[in-house]
Symmetry: C2
């Protein structure tokens, strides 16, 4: 066996957006379309994650943040580098070949995959740009390359992580009700949570701050609003592990 000589390195970004109205965890995907001249034959027509080569002098984190900013205009979004994907055949599926020939990555490409957590309302998609679209993570369209696997593994990592760290709040608006938090956990983990115990547990957390504000514009009795303080969480976390054994 020979050491791999020519390599491309990219970052790929799984942008998870939670929609508080539809209670759905979504992924932001880019359309990939390629046809022969005059569109007589469609060669590639599916969706992919947004990714790009890393630049010289750029760390992996900087690279991922740049790709996100170019896509959404957003900076300072929660991100996690969760896995590198490097199967030698990962871009070599039959249906990817026309695309590969079109682009310029016909040598082995290893990608460092990140996921980002935000609220769908944070992203202003341009109306005239149908190339970028939200899809529910449980109803993905046809995907190119190994991106279905990347999304699946990002989602698994997110599910595990949201049981041990309060990252769920990165997916919610700044102000939320306890029901919003419960809905988000239920949607993401696909479970039913006992309402009363959950409310008690969440309210007891020092890093969940009750506000002097209630919901507006709801037909039912307006519920109390809360905020999440990462600051307080981090100070607490330094002292105690969230032991759950």
């Amino acid at each position: 066996m020979k050491p791999q000589k020519i390599l491309n390195i990219s970052v790929d970004c799984v942008v998870f957006g939670y929609d508080i109205n539809t209670k759905s965890l979504n992924v932001l995907l880019e359309k990939r379309f390629l046809a022969t001249e005059k569109e007589s034959q469609i060669l590639v027509d599916d969706y992919v994650l947004t990714g790009y080569h890393i630049y010289e002098h750029e760390t992996l984190d900087e690279s991922a943040a740049r790709v996100l900013e170019e896509l959404t205009g957003l900076t300072n979004i929660y991100k996690k580098q969760f896995k590198a994907f490097g199967d030698p055949k990962r871009l070599m599926d039959e249906k990817d070949l026309p695309w590969i020939r079109n682009e310029e990555f016909n040598s082995r490409t290893i990608t460092i995959a990140y996921y980002f957590l935000l609220n769908t309302e944070d992203v202003k998609l341009k109306n005239n740009d149908h190339n970028v679209k939200w899809f529910p993570v449980r109803k993905l369209p046809e995907l190119g390359f190994d991106h279905e696997q990347i999304i699946k593994e990002a989602y698994e990592d997110l599910k595990t992580k949201c049981l041990s760290e309060p990252i769920i709040f990165e997916l919610l608006p700044d102000k939320f009700t306890i029901n919003d938090v419960q809905d988000a956990y239920q949607s993401i983990l696909a479970i039913e949570i006992d309402n009363r115990n959950f409310r008690k547990k969440i309210i007891s957390k020092k890093y969940i701050i009750p506000l002097d504000e209630k919901q507006v514009g709801v037909s039912k009795k307006p519920a109390q609003l809360y905020m999440f303080s990462r600051d307080i969480y981090e100070k607490m976390f330094k002292k105690n592990y969230l032991i759950s054994m």
Copy 2:
């Protein structure tokens, strides 16, 4: 900014071994030594993780497994790819330069880092080979490159993961006492665990199988031995998340 052109990709392996006698979590490290002719001046004298370039046609997992096998002779060991490290300056520390000039990786190298979990007794270190040695994870020697950071992040990941998954058993011998499990958690997480609650909780797990065997060769009253069944754990895990909210 220009896309990065010339790149090396390596895997680096953090081999965690738990020593049931000293109750210590250890890391397997390789000596790095370089001196001028006749050893009149020592240029590099520290320790590093074991790593190597990936080969053509090799997946990242295969590459990591190969590096571990070359180092320890072991196959089929629990491994986790936990992070890629790609800071452009990660190999460019002053004290690493003589080594870099000696080896051949003077272009940017991104490494995909794995950790492995085993019991120190599983590894037969050759007596005449002082180049490879166990060090307690809390008493590391001077380390080259960014390997201290890699070990630190591997350890953080291990701590988080052992709260949500029964990976602790990968660090223990096949047969263990409940005290061994408690000692391992206490050592790895640097916490005190309440003895009675812990025992009750562990014994109640379907995947902890009591054996018709007791400890041998101990001075105190021999304790009951148990085994861990990954098989049963995986069947259970498919149905229920280990909800701990």
